[in-house]
C-alpha cells in the first residue's frame, strides 16, 4: 500500500539520555544567554567557542579534521536541545550544518586543513552564497562568474540576502565557471575568504530593524585553484546536496519554541479551558512534527535521500511557526505596554515569521518538490 512518508526509527548509538544531560548541563552554565527567539540566526561568538570547546561542534567530522567522529543522530540530539532552549547558535550554525560536511566531502586538502579545525572550535563562520538579484527561487539563473586564469580563479558578480556575511570568514558560493553555459550546467562551488581583496559587503536591514543579511559584491576577486570545491562544473549537484542538509534539520520547526515554553509557563498548571486547549493543540502539532523530523534525520543518516520527507517537515514546520505567534496573540491579551516573556517573544516572532517560508526555499518551491515526489510533475 502506498505510503505518504517512509518511517525510519531514530536509534542513535550510545547513551542518548546521557548526551542530552550533557548538553543541558552545558546550557545551564550559559543560562543568561538562552531564551532567544529565532535563535539560529542570532550570533554570539563567545557562545560558539564555548560549544566548540565542549565538543558540540563538528561532531560528525573525523578527529583528523578536528571533529569528534560522532553519529549524525547524536549531533541531532545536541542541536535540538540547543534550539529548544533558544541558544544563540547563529555564528557557527551554517558552518557546522552544511559548509563543514560539504568541505569534508568535496573540498581540496588545503581547504580541509585550513577551514575544518577552526569550524570545529567554533571560531570560523561561513555564509551561503546562492541567491542573486536575478536568481531567487530560480537558482539556476545564477550569473556571477569564475574564470580560471594562469594566476588562479577570478570571480566577479554579486550575491544577495547572504545571512551573516558580515560576521563570516568564508562564503561557499555557487558561481558560473564555464563561459556561455546555461542553467544548472557549468556551475561550480568556491570557498571565498570574506577579507579577500575585491569582496565588498553591504548590509541590508530587515523589517525588524536588524542586520542579518547582506549584499556581497565580487570585483575581480583572485582565488587560488584549491578554492574550487569538488568537481569543476558539478556545482549544481553539490549545491543540491547542500540544500538537503540545509532543509532537513529541526530548526525548521523549533526556532520559535521559546514562545511555546513561555506560553505554558504563563498559563500556569491550571489554565482556563481555551488556553488549555490551545496548549494541547500546539503540543500535538509540535510532537508530531518532531516525530517526522526524527524519522527524516534517521533516513538521512541511513544514507538515503529524504528530499520529500525533509520538504514536508520544512513546510509543516514553517506553517506551525508562522501561526504560533498569531494564535497566541488571538488568545492572550498582549497590549503593546505588556512586556513579559510571552508578549515580548510573541511580538518578535510576529515580525520574524514572514521569513520562515522564504529562507531555505519558499513554500511554493518546497510544495513543488513534494508534488514531484508524488509523481505530479
Amino acid at each position: 500500500m502506498q505510503q505518504s512518508f517512509s518511517i525510519f526509527p531514530f536509534n542513535p548509538p550510545g547513551d542518548s539520555a546521557a548526551l542530552r544531560a550533557d548538553v543541558r548541563a552545558f546550557l545551564s552554565l550559559h543560562q543568561a544567554k538562552l531564551g532567544v527567539p529565532n535563535c539560529w540566526v542570532v550570533a554570539d561568538a563567545e557562545f560558539s567557542r564555548a560549544l566548540g570547546a565542549a565538543g558540540f561542534l563538528g561532531m560528525v567530522l573525523p578527529q583528523s579534521a578536528g571533529g569528534h567522529d560522532r553519529h549524525p543522530l547524536e549531533r541531532y540530539i545536541v542541536i535540538e536541545e540547543l534550539l529548544a532552549a533558544g541558544a544563540p547558535v547563529g555564528a557557527h550554525w551554517i558552518a557546522d550544518r552544511q559548509t563543514a560536511p560539504l568541505i569534508l566531502r568535496y573540498g581540496s586538502e588545503e581547504a580541509k586543513a585550513r577551514y575544518l579545525p577552526p569550524i570545529c572550535r567554533g571560531e570560523l563562520y561561513t555564509c551561503i552564497g546562492l541567491s542573486e538579484p536575478g536568481a531567487g527561487s530560480d537558482l539556476a539563473a545564477v550569473r556571477s562568474t569564475a574564470r580560471l586564469t594562469t594566476e588562479g580563479w577570478r570571480l566577479s558578480g554579486q550575491k544577495i540576502w547572504t545571512s551573516g556575511a558580515h560576521i563570516s570568514h568564508v562564503m561557499l558560493a555557487l558561481m558560473r565557471s564555464e563561459e556561455g553555459s546555461e542553467r544548472g550546467a557549468g556551475l561550480s562551488q568556491f570557498l571565498i575568504p570574506m577579507d579577500a581583496p575585491g569582496v565588498t559587503i553591504r548590509p541590508i536591514i530587515d523589517m525588524a530593524g536588524e542586520h542579518h543579511f547582506n549584499e556581497v559584491f565580487f570585483d575581480d576577486v583572485l582565488l587560488p585553484e584549491w578554492a574550487l570545491v569538488g568537481t569543476r562544473g558539478a556545482g549544481w549537484a553539490q549545491a543540491t546536496a547542500e540544500l538537503a542538509l540545509e532543509r532537513s534539520g529541526p530548526e525548521r520547526y523549533l526556532s520559535s519554541h521559546v514562545l511555546m515554553t513561555a506560553l505554558i509557563d504563563f498559563a500556569g498548571s491550571e489554565p482556563e479551558p481555551r488556553l488549555r486547549a490551545l496548549i494541547g493543540e500546539l503540543t500535538a502539532e509540535l510532537w508530531t512534527l518532531r516525530q517526522m523530523s526524527l524519522s527524516t534525520a534517521a533516513k538521512l543518516a541511513a544514507g538515503e535521500d529524504p528530499m520529500v520527507e525533509a520538504s514536508m517537515v520544512k513546510d509543516l514546520g514553517n506553517s506551525f511557526e508562522q501561526a504560533l505567534p498569531q494564535r497566541v496573540q488571538a488568545l492572550v491579551d498582549c497590549p503593546s505596554s505588556r512586556d513579559d516573556d510571552v508578549a515580548r517573544l510573541m511580538r518578535a516572532l510576529l515580525i520574524a515569521a514572514p521569513s520562515f517560508s522564504l529562507r531555505g526555499g519558499t513554500r511554493e518551491i518546497i510544495r513543488g518538490i513534494i508534488a514531484r515526489g508524488l509523481g505530479l510533475r
Binding site: 502506498q2 512518508f5 518511517i7 505554558i264 503540543t283 510532537w287 516525530q291 517526522m292 510533475r377
Partner: protein
C-alpha cells in the same frame, strides 16, 4: 518492516479485499481477533506496531467495518478506541491521496491532466503532508504502546497527541480530496466517499478535538514549559 509483519500485511490485504463485499466474516475466519494474543496462548503474538499496520490497511480497504474493535475485543477504552481510529485514518488518508493523484493524473481539462496545474499540485502537496503527519503520529503512538507493554495510561500522551493531530488533518485532507475530484467525487457511485465519509465520522469517535486538546493541554500545563520539552524528549 520485519518479515513477519510483511506477511501479516499481505494476508490483511487479501482478506480485507474479500471482506469489502463479504463483511466481517472472512476477517474473523482469518483469526485477526488473535493478533494481540500471546503465542503461548495460541494467538499470533503480535505487537501494537502490527495492529497499526493491519488497521492502516483496514482503513483503506474496509473503512466501514469495525476491524479494530474485533482485534481488541471486549469493551474498548477511549484511548484504545482513539488509537484504532488514528490507525484507520492513516490508511484511509493515504488511500484517498492515492485516488486523488490517480484521478488528477487522468482527468483532462484545458487540454492537459489536472495534475499539471500548479494550483492542483500545491494542494495535493498539502494533502500528502497531512497524511504523512497522521501516519507518523500513528506509528509513534503504536511504538509508545509497545514500550508501555499496552499500558494505556503510560501511552496516553502519544495517543492524545496522535488523535488530536489526526482530527486536525482529516478536515483539511478530506476537503482537498473532494475539491480535486470535482462533481464525480460527490456521487454515490464513485468510491471516494467510502473513505472520506468514515474519515469525517472518525473525528467524533473516541474523543473529539476539544476532548483531546483538554487532556493534552492539561498534561502540558502541569509539566510547565521546560518540563514539557523534557517529557517529549524522554518519551522518545
Amino acid at each position: 518492516m520485519s518479515e513477519q509483519r510483511t506477511l501479516l500485511c499481505d494476508t490483511a490485504q487479501a482478506v480485507f479485499a474479500e471482506a469489502a463485499t463479504a463483511g466481517l466474516a472472512p476477517i474473523e475466519a482469518a483469526g485477526f481477533a488473535q493478533l494481540l494474543i500471546a503465542e503461548s496462548n495460541g494467538g499470533f503474538g503480535g505487537d501494537w506496531g502490527d495492529v497499526f499496520a493491519v488497521l492502516r490497511i483496514a482503513g483503506a480497504k474496509v473503512p466501514h467495518l469495525p476491524v479494530g474493535e474485533l482485534i481488541i475485543g471486549g469493551e474498548i477504552s477511549q484511548p484504545i478506541g482513539a488509537f484504532i481510529r488514528v490507525a484507520q485514518a492513516a490508511g484511509a488518508m493515504d488511500a484517498a491521496l492515492a485516488m486523488s493523484i490517480d484521478y488528477t493524473n487522468t482527468r483532462q481539462q484545458f487540454g492537459k491532466p489536472l495534475s499539471k496545474f500548479q494550483a492542483v499540485q500545491q494542494v495535493l502537496a498539502v494533502f500528502a503532508t497531512e497524511a504523512a503527519a497522521v501516519n507518523v503520529a500513528g506509528a509513534a503512538a503504536a511504538a509508545a504502546l509497545d514500550r508501555a507493554n499496552g499500558d494505556v495510561d503510560a501511552a496516553l500522551f502519544e495517543i492524545a497527541a496522535a488523535k488530536l493531530r489526526t482530527n486536525q488533518a482529516i478536515g483539511q485532507a478530506t476537503a482537498i480530496a473532494h475539491q480535486v475530484h470535482g462533481a464525480i467525487g460527490f456521487t454515490k457511485d464513485y468510491d471516494l466517499h467510502k473513505l472520506t465519509g468514515p474519515l469525517l465520522n472518525w473525528r467524533s469517535d473516541y474523543g473529539n478535538d476539544t476532548h483531546w486538546a483538554a487532556v493534552l493541554g492539561g498534561i502540558a500545563a502541569k509539566l510547565g514549559g521546560a518540563g514539557l520539552w523534557a517529557e517529549i524528549t524522554r518519551r522518545g
